[in-house]
Symmetry: C2
Subunit: 110 residues, 2 copies
DNA sequence: TTTATTTATCGTAATATTGCAATATAATAA
DNA sequence: TTATTATATTGCAATATTACGATAAATAAA
C-alpha cells in the first residue's frame, strides 16, 4: 500500500502522469518559467532567483530532467540547464488533443 | 521542513502546479480519459473500469475536483462526473503559450 | 598543489500521498 | 419503515516528497 499501481495503466498514461507530476510543484514551474525567460540558458542563477536552498533546487532540477522536461550541459564548473523541447511538446500536444476532443463532444451533462 | 513553500510563488504558478499535480498520477489520467471517452458522463462505472478500490477512486475524484479539472452533479443515488472545460483550458492554454514562447527564442544552448 | 566555485549527493526530519478495509451518509425502492 | 444502492469519509500502514545542513565531487584559478 501507498505504492502507485503504475503497472495497471498504459505507458502513455504513465508518461504523461510523470511529466505532469514533475510540473506539479510551484518551484518547478518557477524554474521552468525562468529557463524560458533567460536568453542564454544560464544555470545556477536559479538558486539566486528562487527562495530555496541550493540542494533543494538541485533536487528539483533532477526531477525535471528525469521527466524529460529539461536538459543539462556541463560548462566548466557550472551546468547549463534549458528546456527540453520534445518533452514540452509531448505534454502540450496531449492537452491540446484532449481539449480538441472535448470540444467535439457536447459536454453538457454537468 | 517537508512543506511546500507556496507563499514564495505567484498565484498563477501555484494554480498551474496544483492542476498539473492533480494529473500527476496515472489513475487520474485514466479517469480523465475515461470521462472524455464516454458520451453520457457516467459516474461510478469508473470503479468498474479501473483496477482500484472504490474509496481510492473516490479520493482521486475528489482531488481532480478540488483542482478544478472535473465537476460532479448528483443524479439520484449516483453522481455524474465530467470534465470541467475551464480547468482544462487553463492548463492547455498555459502549455500552448509556453510552447509558443519557446519556439520564438533560439533554444540552442543545450 | 592549494584554494575557490559550482553542483550533486547523503542523511534526516517533517509532511504528503497512495491504497484499502471498515464504516458512514444519502437517496431511492420495496 | 426497512432494505438497497451509490458514493464519501475515517483510520491506518506503506511509501513518497519536500527541504535543508553537511559534505562530496569536479573543474577552474592562483
Amino acid at each position: 500500500m501507498g505504492l502507485t499501481k503504475t503497472e495497471h495503466f498504459t505507458d502513455k498514461q504513465n508518461a504523461i502522469a510523470t511529466m505532469a507530476k514533475a510540473l506539479g510543484h510551484p518551484a518547478r514551474i518557477a524554474i521552468f518559467e525562468y529557463l524560458l525567460k533567460v536568453d542564454t540558458c544560464i544555470c545556477g542563477d536559479i538558486v539566486n532567483e528562487l527562495p530555496l536552498a541550493q540542494p533543494t533546487i538541485s533536487q528539483h532540477l533532477k526531477e525535471l530532467k528525469s521527466a524529460g522536461l529539461i536538459k543539462g550541459n556541463i560548462e566548466g564548473t557550472s551546468i547549463c540547464y534549458c528546456i527540453d523541447e520534445k518533452g514540452l511538446e509531448k505534454l502540450q500536444g496531449y492537452f491540446t488533443t484532449i481539449s480538441l476532443k472535448l470540444n467535439k463532444k457536447n459536454n453538457k451533462c454537468c
